[in-house]
Amino acid sequence: MSVTEMFSYIQGFLSADQDVREDIRKVVQGLEQTAREILTLLQSVHQPAGFKEIPSKSAKARELFCSVRTQLGELKTKFPVEQYYRFHEHWRFVLQRLAFLAAFVVYLETETLVVREEVAKILGIEVQREKGFHLDVEDYLAGVLIMASELSRLAVNSVTAGDYTRPLRISNFINELDSGFRLLNLKNDPLRKRYDGLKYDVKKIEEVVYDLSIRGLAKEAGDQAQ
């Protein structure tokens, strides 16, 4: 094979690779749009009026996840299943976003931490790589951390809206999350950097709880901070 032939072959390969990535990008754009819609919907719970509407908002969000499942189903068809990590960078951001949104919905519904399997089910994808398009554990964890920031904001806004017990529950939740994360041996990668932000969320929520308790505003039995 001559030099020219060799480079011709390589060029063919690179060109095909670019085409696949173009296809993937188009589907990911659609996913990002849907993710924005779900986010806009859920952001409204921060409004004073929004707290009462939590059940209806999370129900509506669940409906929007139907579109997500369809779009992810389409994404799966754009590349060979065993090359997930070759193209992973294209959807990593939006998948983390979707994991966050799924975790947030479940939190609003149940005030508990969604398990990875449930997130995968909401998104219509697998948990294990061998079974197909899956949710990488680091993407799940990144989504959880994004939610932690959202909850620190929710703690602040629930006080403003007059709900003085929610911050205490959020505080317990975040502290347990923090304990969990401290078990992980993280390398100096993006997940580690994101985890470093968790302590600020913890601190912010602690301050909210402190503000409530010194003023005697939190009087629920068993949830008292002092």
């Binding site: 001559s2 390589i10 347990e176 923090d178 969990g180 041996n185």
Partner: protein, 284 residues
């Protein structure tokens, strides 16, 4: 885990939330249990990554040593010994790549690509250098991958029988990606440029012209690919142009002044691309 939720353990004791969370940890709540699983998963992945990095480092070192060895062919009369020794070294490197293939068995190779890409590029550089010296041609990706086939015994209990490899043998391959191949070849051009300069210094006036033609073809190939390749290629293209320039200048100088400059001074002529000494009067 079949449940969809992990209840926060309700506190019955007083105390700050932090202390209660620690109590939750001690009582091994579902959240903590889940994170212990994540810890194991992440540790396993990181450990494999580290093992691959170590093997890749060995591949890099041995490949570089092979390249240094191969440069000596221009200065010795009998190149065959060097070529044989280089072949032996590269066989050892291939065994290391076999270990990489072993680690990647059952994995998505792209998940760990960053761990071993540097070593593989260095190997491509070394093996293509050897191939050029022997063959005066560019080794193809197919040829490289054809030699990265390994026989492994299946992962079953050892039978201790001599014919076990036939019944339980498994073929393991490592496929160099077109992208890694491209980057290795880009680095090869630097070595070819060095070989050109040193061959001139040793009085070999044929090699520079062959190299010039070969390098030009490779450079044209890279220009054809442009920036549709991995972004590192664009960076290496700049170096490639410089290498090609040096080689073309060497050929020019040889053509113009080869008859008038003693061989042992030719090397000095090409040490700098921009400066050329004045021809000395009266030198044969």
């Amino acid at each position: 885990m079949t449940t969809t939720r992990m209840p926060v353990v309700k506190k019955t004791s007083e105390g700050c939330p932090r202390r209660n969370a620690d109590a939750a940890q001690e009582s091994s709540s579902p959240v903590i249990a889940a994170f212990k699983v994540f810890q194991q998963e992440l540790d396993t992945k990181h450990d494999k990554h580290e093992r691959l990095v170590k093997i890749s480092r060995d591949v890099t070192i041995e490949s570089k040593r092979t390249i240094f060895l191969l440069h000596r062919v221009t200065s010795v009369p009998n190149a065959d010994n060097i070529l044989k020794e280089a072949e032996v070294k590269l066989d050892a490197v291939r065994q290391k790549i076999g270990q990489i293939a072993e680690e990647l068995r059952g994995e998505d190779i792209f998940q760990f690509h960053r761990a071993f890409t540097a070593g593989i590029q260095e190997y491509v550089e070394a093996v293509s250098f050897l191939h050029y010296i022997r063959d005066r041609s560019l080794i193809s990706l197919e040829e490289i991958n054809a030699s990265l086939v390994f026989m492994r015994a299946e992962k079953v209990e050892p039978t201790g029988l001599a014919e076990a490899p036939q019944t339980g043998g498994q073929v393991l391959t490592f496929q160099v990606t077109p992208s890694d191949y491209l980057l290795g070849i880009a680095d090869l051009t630097g070595e070819l440029m060095r070989m050109c300069i040193s061959s001139v210094g040793n009085g070999d006036i044929d090699t520079p012209f062959q190299l010039s033609q070969f390098l030009r073809q490779i450079h044209d190939g890279f220009s054809f690919i442009g920036n549709t390749g991995p972004y590192e290629v664009s960076k290496k293209l700049h170096t490639l142009r410089q290498s090609l320039g040096k080689v073309e200048d060497a050929c020019y100088a040889l053509r113009v002044r080869g008859s008038e400059i003693p061989k042992h001074m030719l090397a000095d002529v090409f040490s700098s691309r921009t400066t050329l000494p004045e021809p000395e009067e009266g030198i044969v």
